[in-house]
Assembly symmetry: C2
Homo-oligomer: 351 residues x 2
């Protein structure tokens, strides 16, 4: 590794000008083959590494992309990030990860921060507090490309990657219904988030198709997506004190699923006897939950990869991109014990 060597040092050593060295290293046609090999050999021998800060200043880019997610201590997002890095590093982009902790204010600050540090592009999953997306519109207008993932806004026209939330929710709810559960509650995030709306729609469709009337009391919104335990506690408590208690619950996101399960334990509610549960989560430990947890898994790694490919395609496109795409990837329902109805009529008949 030695000392840091610059293009200037090479020029001096080889009695060349800095411009010649720079061009030689970048395979300019202006430079003769001999000079090129001369320079390149010297650079290789002395382990020359271009200074990316200087390059960034000159070229106006930073070869880095910023990721803005609600949290990273959550298997869904950490898997997404792994996917992002797998592509970004291959293309020599640096990845800067920032968390909003579900706060709108932090999200605004973070976006401006990245803009002013001139990252080349943004991959974003909205905070659960975000209704207004002007901060994205503004930086986008100023030339910063954005790709949204998972929690995406309608209001911004750009590439988006989401799971098939509608179908995932529909299948999970159908599964609960087929198991024989009749009164299925739904615990979800704030109602303006795309994932909330889509998953809610899938839930409602499944109920409709089975002629189960929709009960508004069964739908609980948690503003912080499961990050604040008390919020979820209140939701579960409300459900359990209804005159007609639900017999199953469908949870809409990663943290909501684990938090709800934890609270059911705390309230000593037997699962699935007193309350069955199924939900969206990419937890790597769903199989060792008590009971093992029926999950809708999103293709998190693939979603991260896809978003990054989309972003880099914008970054490397010669002409401004105007046709944007929304990719919808399939979810995967993994049936475990938390949604089993052992003594239901339906399962008795179906045998």
């Amino acid at each position: 590794m030695r000392e840091k060597i610059t293009i200037k040092d090479i020029a001096k050593a080889l009695q060349l000008s800095v411009s010649t060295v720079s061009k030689a290293l970048r395979d300019s046609y202006e430079i003769s083959a001999e000079t090129q090999t001369l320079v390149k050999d010297y650079a290789a021998k002395h382990r020359y590494q271009p200074n990316p800060i200087a390059q960034g200043l000159r070229k106006g880019n930073s070869k880095s992309i910023a990721v803005i997610v609600p949290n990273i201590d959550n298997n869904f997002f950490s898997q997404v990030i792994n996917g992002i890095e797998s592509i970004a590093h291959k293309k020599e982009y640096n990845v800067i990860i920032t968390q909003t902790h579900e706060s709108f204010d932090r999200e605004v600050l973070t976006v401006q921060h990245h803009f002013s540090r001139s990252v080349d592009g943004l991959i974003v999953s909205l905070s659960s507090e975000t209704e207004n997306t002007d901060h994205f519109a503004e930086v986008q207008k100023n030339g910063l490309p954005i790709v949204f993932l998972d929690r995406v806004p309608d209001s911004i026209n750009t590439h988006k990657v989401i799971a098939n939330n509608f179908l995932g929710a529909y299948e999970a709810t159908q599964h609960l219904i087929h198991q024989g559960f009749k009164r299925i509650a739904h615990i979800t995030s704030t109602n303006f988030l795309s994932i909330t709306k889509e998953r809610l729609a899938g839930y409602i469709r499944a109920l409709e198709e089975n002629d189960i009337p929709l009960n508004e009391d069964y739908i609980k919104y948690c503003a912080h997506g499961g990050m604040i335990k008390d919020e979820v506690y209140a939701a579960v408590y409300d459900l359990m004190t209804l005159r007609k208690k639900p017999d199953a619950v469908f949870t809409a996101s990663d943290r909501l699923s684990t938090t709800t399960l934890s609270i059911l334990h705390q309230l000593k509610i037997k699962i699935p006897e007193q309350m069955a549960i199924a939900g969206f989560t990419n937890s790597i430990s769903a199989d060792i939950f008590n009971p093992s947890f029926t999950t809708v898994k999103q293709p998190a790694y693939l979603m991260g990869k896809t978003a990054t490919e989309m972003l880099i395609s914008i970054l490397e496109s010669k002409r401004p991109v105007v046709n944007f795409e929304k990719k919808i990837l399939d979810t995967n329902l993994i049936i475990m014990d938390s949604s089993k109805k052992y003594h239901s009529k339906v399962s008795a008949i179906s045998r």
Copy 2:
């Protein structure tokens, strides 16, 4: 936010030179009070943001610190990172997170990458493959400050932050012994990692103090720290086919704990009846595991904060730092069902 405005634009608008503007913004004594307010007001009104790339080039720093950890899809490290960010952001440092995925080669590459991009400092937790630490010695010699966390090398003289691994392991093993378990296995990472050695030592001390002979067959090393399931499977399978099967197992790290639990389930081994388990993990879901999981929790958030404070103290120190410190923070044993011995003589007597 508008267009990006530079110091040059301000100079032009105010009929001043760029140097005057620069100095006015940085409170230079050379600039009169009127000019200062003039410049500052204009800058504020037009939301001037200094370009950090240009600043970095000029000042030779980047106001950013890099974090190198084995993985982020692991609650221990994601909590550590939250701690790191809480301090770094307050001090206006950017945090760049990179994962080694427990690979030595990736670790070497990553270190060099960060060095060449001139980050200001490194916070590192070693990969499980890392025996040789020359790559750190070299960049450190070239002026890059490093703070190690959790998995730390002896060979590098710098600040370090670890949990009290010895005591944490000792307490967990003592707990298993007090519950009445006699044959306690230990599943851990590669044996040259600091955490492996320290936790192993705590385990051995607890056995010694209770006159339980050490059985080498009961100690299993998994080179990838639980990332490769087959490796852990082999370890557990070995243990279960011993003539004298262990009746409890103490797992040494976050991913090892969850993976081992998962495999015990897979092998349909009843916990804790056939095999009790306790282990290091910062999983946020330990309470909903089946059975609820007895854990040694590290103060991950605090460890991240502490490491960052140490690093920034080096960065902001006027004179080279020569006295380095190793901070040891206490762990927390949380007793749950996975380590309960319902029918043991000991617990019968103790009642």
